[in-house]
């Protein structure tokens, strides 16, 4: 019944010349998405990856368990000295992420270009 979560890793360079790793998610983000969300993040090198963008453009459904996985990624990234930004959320999920306080630790941008320009 739940749509599998897919994740894809891509390397980009921001307009200011920073190396950026983008984690692109697709499908639902829920309690069954741990491998696709936390697992994909944990596969990144803490030594070389310093800036991470989480792309939710192709995600239609996120529940509170899925948000908890995003918080877990943010927590591990903060402990590893990595910066996390988020883009591609619908207006509703931007509101939800703001409600739970995620904006205190991660910038939310409408799209990839805006997120990259803000780095």
């Amino acid at each position: 019944m739940q749509t599998d979560t897919k994740s894809k890793i891509e390397q980009l360079t921001s307009p200011s010349g920073k190396s950026v790793t983008v984690l692109r998610f697709e499908g639902d983000i829920s309690s069954t998405s741990k491998d696709a969300v936390v697992g994909a993040y944990q596969g990144l090198s803490k030594e070389t990856v310093k800036t991470i963008l989480l792309d939710f453009t192709k995600v239609e459904y996120i529940n509170s368990s899925g948000i908890a996985l995003v918080i877990q990624v943010m927590m591990e990234a903060a402990n590893g000295g990595q910066k996390v930004s988020v883009f591609g959320l619908s207006a509703h999920f931007q509101k939800v992420f703001t409600m739970v306080g995620i904006t205190k630790y991660a910038t939310l941008s409408a799209d990839q270009a805006t997120a990259l320009a803000a780095l």
Partner: protein
């Protein structure tokens, strides 16, 4: 839906994760028929999904022999949603999640469902069932009219 009487739609879900989306989409369809704005429909979808997840996971403890009942009652200016399970119900009101504590590992990253429900609907009431069974959460979302253009 121009009738002034309350119209009821009922859905029965298996206690299996993922089926909350059936209730969520049904609630969205009813709300759309009632004329709710898209923004409120999105709020309702998240609130209904979280209520069903709580019922499946905590109320019925993922026991697939038990089902979760969802009753949507569409009135003239509000939509009431009752989500029923066979659990004992909750004993305390939800607390606002503390992102600082979560980020420092002092609070479980999970546990935001009830907070979201309360924040996204106009009324949320958790009712513990008699004899520790048949508990429910009752949500109400009111139909606010689009501002009139002059």
């Amino acid at each position: 839906m121009t009738s002034t009487r309350s119209t009821t739609v009922e859905v029965r879900l298996p206690s299996r994760m993922g089926f909350e989306k059936v209730a969520m989409q049904t609630a969205a369809s009813v709300a759309k028929l009632m004329g709710f704005r898209e923004e409120r429909i999105e709020d309702l979808k998240t609130a209904v999904a979280e209520a069903c997840i709580n019922a499946i996971e905590h109320g019925n403890r993922l026991n697939e022999r038990l089902s979760v009942g969802v009753v949507l009652s569409a009135g003239t200016d509000e939509l009431e949603v009752k989500v029923m399970d066979d659990g004992k119900g909750i004993q305390k009101t939800p607390e606002k999640p503390d992102i600082d504590r979560k980020m420092h590992g002092e609070e479980d990253p999970r546990g935001m469902g009830m907070f979201l429900i309360q924040a996204l609907v106009d009324e949320a009431e958790w009712v513990a069932g008699i004899n520790g069974k048949a508990s429910y959460v009752r949500l109400v979302v009111r139909l606010d009219k689009e501002p009139e253009t002059v």
